[in-house]
Symmetry: C2
Subunit: 423 residues, 2 copies
């Protein structure tokens, strides 16, 4: 890998696939058809795109049980422990409703309410990551969402993969539909007989799923449209080159458009990482993907000072940031933008992908400047509470009416004054 000095306003800008106008029109059509024709449209598109016509689109208890019986005990135990860790972390995110009172009898507050229903999209084939199911479902469950609906495209045999069913069963998700693509997003948004609409749709998918989510946004809520994965490593002379290289490659193997960047104050490390990346790459099963990612979106930047390095790290606003420096906690206060921050040489990024507890659904493409990991809060909404007393209206009503008239809203002023004039 080439080593270059850090420059001002570092950024890894990639052109995210926004879909073509043709794809957008196709998706609009599918959504409209599902809205109009419900299940029969879903059936039609499933045959067209997935090449199958399942006997039943809703997964039965028997299917769940059968998949579960086939799973080996160690796999189940690992999934269970991961769920437990992830649940424990997300429980810390639960927000309480609160209120405040005033001596004049006024009560103000904020009520937190879980969403009624959430839909989780699980991609088909190899991309049906159990970790992704866990990361989408757990925050919704912890938030108190009563109904969680999972959708996933059927395979060629008309079924979902065993690992998807096992993970769903471990999570206690019971409503699972064999529907994928834009038609699944339409089904979750508009519903059909047997499937009630949901309020929010999360989970990754291909370009058709992403376009469909963008289009239905507003009718339902959606999560962010995720871009390719990214890792930035901030390292000094204490970092181990083999660790840094391995971690960079762990993101590079995801996608040819994934990005792996090292920012370091130490030239020796920079050179060693460059060598290690090439060496480790050679024996990776996904060396073609990882190699392309490193070539096109990988970089090693050399900074003169830790301050310069931190500035570069904040400019990058990476999805994953590893801090492999002598005292990682000392630099933490100066890290402003990153989706998840991994502190110390032992905290390799994959620790957070599956097991530690925090969510692995993180802002990409520089959006960590203003976006957050998926949280329990994303499955709740708030309502303001205002209870004004007679005394409070008497004391402040004239001021409120004046404010309304400042904005030439006479009916607003009169609504308040009605309470002043009548006893």
């Amino acid at each position: 890998m080439k080593i270059t000095p850090v420059t001002a306003d570092l950024s890894i800008k990639r052109t995210i696939d926004q879909g073509t106008e043709e794809q957008r029109k196709a998706v609009l059509n599918i959504l409209e058809d599902v809205k109009q024709d419900g299940f029969s449209a879903v059936k039609r598109y499933t045959l067209q795109f997935d090449g199958v016509s399942p006997d039943a689109f809703k997964v039965t208890q028997e299917e769940l049980d059968a998949a579960y019986r086939k799973a080996d005990n160690r796999t189940i135990a690992i999934i269970q422990e991961a769920i437990q860790n992830i649940r424990a972390f997300h429980e810390r995110q639960v927000q309480q409703s609160w209120f405040t009172t005033k001596p004049d009898g006024t009560i103000l507050g904020q009520k937190v309410t879980p969403l009624d229903a959430a839909g989780v999209y699980v991609p088909g084939g190899l991309a049906a990551y159990p970790s992704s199911i866990i990361m989408n479902v757990v925050p919704a469950q912890v938030a108190g969402v009563e109904r969680i609906v999972m959708v996933s495209p059927p395979q060629k045999d008309g079924n979902l993969t065993d690992i998807v069913l096992v993970t769903a069963k471990e999570l206690g998700v019971e409503e699972i539909w064999k529907i994928g693509g834009a038609q699944a997003i339409g089904a979750l948004t508009y519903g059909f007989e047997g499937l009630e609409p949901v309020d929010k749709i999360t989970g990754p998918g291909n370009i058709f799923v992403a376009l469909a989510k963008q289009i239905v946004f507003g009718t339902v809520d959606i999560d962010m449209i995720a871009g390719p994965s990214e890792i930035a490593v901030l390292a000094d002379h204490t970092a181990k080159a083999s660790y840094v290289a391995a971690d960079m490659l762990s993101q590079a193997e995801h996608d040819k458009m994934a990005s792996a960047v090292l920012v370091t104050t130490d030239r020796t490390l920079a050179e060693a990482v460059s060598v290690e990346v090439e060496a480790q790459l050679k024996t990776l099963p996904k060396r073609e993907i990882a190699g392309a990612s490193i070539r096109d979106y990988g970089a090693i930047y050399l900074a003169e000072t830790m301050d310069d390095a931190l500035q570069a790290i904040n400019d990058l606003a990476a999805e994953h940031l590893e801090v492999q420096v002598e005292d990682p906690w000392a630099v933490l206060p100066n890290i402003r933008h990153a989706g998840a921050i991994f502190l110390g040489s032992q905290s390799s990024e994959p620790v957070g992908d599956y097991f530690a507890g925090p969510n692995h659904i993180l802002p990409t493409n520089g959006t960590a400047r203003f976006s957050s990991p998926l949280t329990v809060e994303d499955f709740t909404k708030k309502s303001s509470i205002i209870s004004y007393s007679k005394e409070a209206v008497k004391a402040h009503g004239d001021k409120i009416a004046s404010f309304a008239r400042m904005e030439e809203l006479e009916a607003h002023a009169r609504a308040v004054e009605k309470r002043l004039e009548e006893d």
Copy 2:
């Protein structure tokens, strides 16, 4: 007003103006020009759309001081008290960073960081509501956003209105630009010499502003695109018809597409409100707007039971909900969807628009099912923190590697195993 029985799945569906394809193209052009040409494009579009070419686009301290000297003391005092109340409420929303430790040395946590910079759009002319400026700026300030930039289109004389400047000065906003329309959204997103880009843009605007915000979303964050205002009133026999009618009209006067709905269990009240609305409407300065709103999007629904009424209220998921029943706190737990909930006969909706403390920027058009009022959190973002110890990696590393291999991500597994093999 007509009185009808409540039906299942009540909703006030209005076709929100999404803009024409032509308007969208015009906005895309403006944004592209501002991105390419910076200030010179802003200058050109300001002359074209606002018909002026201000000497300086940035408001000076002298302009702020001059506007302030002209303002009367009572106006200033009311604005100050409103800001104080609104600030006090929003301070309750501040979230703390937190962390948790495990005996094996692992530390997990969530770091809350304010956005670096926020832009507030303030519409021109009469829509330049001081309350709207306060409601956008205060949560950003309480969140700790260091840089708040206000933009607003210049009037025919090349200046901003005094009330905008006075409110900005009271809030302590110092960076104010005389730029409006899509060019202002472009300037905030891409910046130009003298104006650094921001991370999030909030505030209402016309269709060009709304389209521009939708297009730049992703490069920066935006607030929700607000629809016309709405009020729903839940009332029983204890409610006062004149209050209910006045409150319904207070929202109806905003917009011909605003909606005002009463859901009541009491026929006598329903009939009295119908009469009162017509009577009060007659003397309103904005009777034409309010009358159209009541005619097209107003309704009185009669429910047989309070349970039915509550179901209807939840189906509506109104922006503003007034609860004028015998014991409003008794029904609060059953209200699942509403932007702001006003409890009791004294809590008329305008109390919350200007003065009480909660934010008046609320989800419209049924989106209260999944969206929240504007909060301090909207001006912060979170980063997950993961610090794994050597002991934790030793204990769990093999499970994490197995999980990675379950997803066929070998480089992930190796990154963790590197820590196991080397000591």
